[in-house]
């Protein structure tokens, strides 16, 4: 950000520092970073303090739930400590946002486990980099009544590799391992569907 360098030469100016900080956020290009920085500069002090407090608060108080590894303010998290939920079934997801997506459906009342990623050797991520050991330990020591694990990783190559790997680890424990159904998305066009998706849709067809 050359445009904002402090003319006195004593290092980066506060504005340049802020632009730089915004620029490091995902999806924020140099122009957006400048726009955001100038917005903060012109905004009332209170708004800036709110933003700063929110940023610090999230770093200070959000931890990973000791059981499900989801992000939470207290551990065990709200879902893990909810006595109304089925405690025999765990839905394994890649990221915390996937928990939000599945909760929104209102169709699942069991527990969750967040892997924080997916096996992807091309990106340097192996099984040991995920919360798989925590899942096995949890099933063995805490949630001993688990009868089924639904692997809800994304239906792409990495998600499939992860689900097959989890299947190999979990089946010996006497647990039923299932996978989310795959097929055509709502509003799709058959003509443009790829062979794998269309094949799965045929294979797992349902009575009308």
């Amino acid at each position: 950000m050359n445009d904002f360098r402090d003319p006195s030469g004593s290092g980066a100016s506060p504005i340049a520092r802020l632009v730089d900080a915004f620029h490091r956020l995902p999806g924020i290009g140099p122009k957006s970073a400048q726009r955001l920085a100038y917005h903060v500069l012109r905004a009332p002090e209170e708004e800036a303090r709110d933003l700063a407090d929110a940023l610090m608060e999230v770093k200070r108080s959000v931890v990973l739930c000791a059981r499900c590894q989801n992000v939470t303010a207290e551990t065990p998290c709200r879902i893990c400590s909810d006595t109304g939920r089925e405690r025999t079934i765990i839905c394994v997801v890649e990221e915390p946002l996937d928990v939000v997506a599945i909760e929104r459906t209102g169709g699942f009342h069991g527990l969750y486990h967040v892997l924080h990623g997916v096996i992807s050797p091309a990106d340097g991520v192996g099984p040991e980099d995920l919360k798989i050991a925590e899942l096995l330990a949890r099933i063995r020591d805490v949630d001993r009544d688990i009868a089924e694990v639904i692997v809800a990783t994304n239906p792409n190559l990495e998600g499939e590799a992860t689900s097959m790997y989890l299947g190999r680890l979990l089946r010996p424990l006497g647990i039923r391992v299932t996978r989310l159904a795959r097929g055509l998305p709502a509003g799709a066009d058959l003509e443009y569907a790829d062979d794998v998706t269309l094949g799965r849709a045929l294979e797992f067809r349902q009575e009308v």
Binding site: P121, G126, E134, A137, L169, R171, V196
Partner: protein, 278 residues
């Protein structure tokens, strides 16, 4: 318009990798015959109604139309030619395929002819998909890849003096990429012992046509030794850890553990993960 470069290119390609770009787009890495490795932008593929997404999954042989962009080309059409479904449905073969593509990624340069490497990768994926032995496919691919890129390992003659080394007496150096005789071993401080049977198999894999190489019967133990030798060679040549190589081994360990457990010997509970309990 004479003289102007075409604005779109149509090419076949194998998808080897994807990474996110913004909210809904992805950068897809392709291996193409004529342009080598290219990064292209696939717009909107993270949306559920995307018409491209399913065709651009890694390990797909695809025909794409690319529009030339300012920095990266953009995929405007994609049609899967082969998606290797059998390979995707089996963890051992899938992990092997991921390893092959990681090697292809490391050994292919961007924007240069890679017809040979493309053909090698394509043949190996076809062979894995139709159920050929994972070992013979992987090992012959590694050796052919090294050959094509100028890193052909020397399994027969000593790197130091050129004399033919009997398999039983050989040592080898992953860094130097070949065998060393007993006379010269002092000059190669990093030289390691090498299993005589494994060395004979590697010599055969390097010299025999693929179909004949496939007839060599391997025990599980010998296959594991071959894998270990070739993984250390590939690591030395690539000058980095190969994450997919570790995953090939992890997938196999998990299979063995499952088979053992199904046979009534429950070992998983006391296995490697016990120490991670909270």
């Amino acid at each position: 318009m004479p003289g102007r470069a075409p604005r779109v290119t149509k090419t076949e390609a194998i998808v080897i990798r994807q990474r996110r770009l913004g909210d809904a787009d992805r950068i897809v890495t392709l291996i193409t015959p004529l342009r080598g490795k290219v990064d292209v932008v696939a717009k909107g593929v993270l949306r559920s109604k995307s018409r491209l997404a399913g065709h651009l999954e890694p390990l797909t042989h695809v025909e794409v139309v690319l529009a030339h962009g300012r920095s990266l080309d953009v995929v405007t059409q994609a049609q899967a030619v082969e998606s290797f479904p059998a390979l995707r449905g089996d963890l051992d073969r899938l992990s092997a395929a991921l390893y092959l593509t990681e090697l292809a990624d490391r050994f292919t340069v961007e924007h240069a002819d890679a017809t040979g490497l493309f053909t090698l990768l394509h043949a190996a994926l076809v062979r894995l998909d139709r159920g050929d032995g994972q070992q013979v496919v992987t090992r012959t691919y590694e050796l052919a890849l090294l050959d094509a890129t100028g890193f052909r390992p020397e399994w027969t003659r000593c790197l130091g003096c050129g004399v033919e080394v009997p398999a039983g007496e050989a040592r080898w150096s992953p860094l130097e990429g070949g065998v060393i005789c007993v006379e010269c071993v002092a000059r190669y401080p990093g030289a390691l012992p090498i299993d005589a049977t494994a060395l004979r198999v590697l010599r055969a894999y390097q010299s025999l046509p693929y179909e004949e190489a496939g007839r060599i019967r391997l025990t599980d133990d010998l296959a594991a030794r071959l894998e270990q030798i070739m993984h250390s060679l590939m690591r030395a040549v690539a000058e980095r850890e190969l994450k997919s190589a570790a995953f090939v081994s992890a997938a196999r360990h998990a299979r063995v553990a499952e088979e053992t457990a199904t046979a009534g010997l429950d070992e998983i509970g006391n296995g490697a993960y016990a120490e991670d309990a909270d």
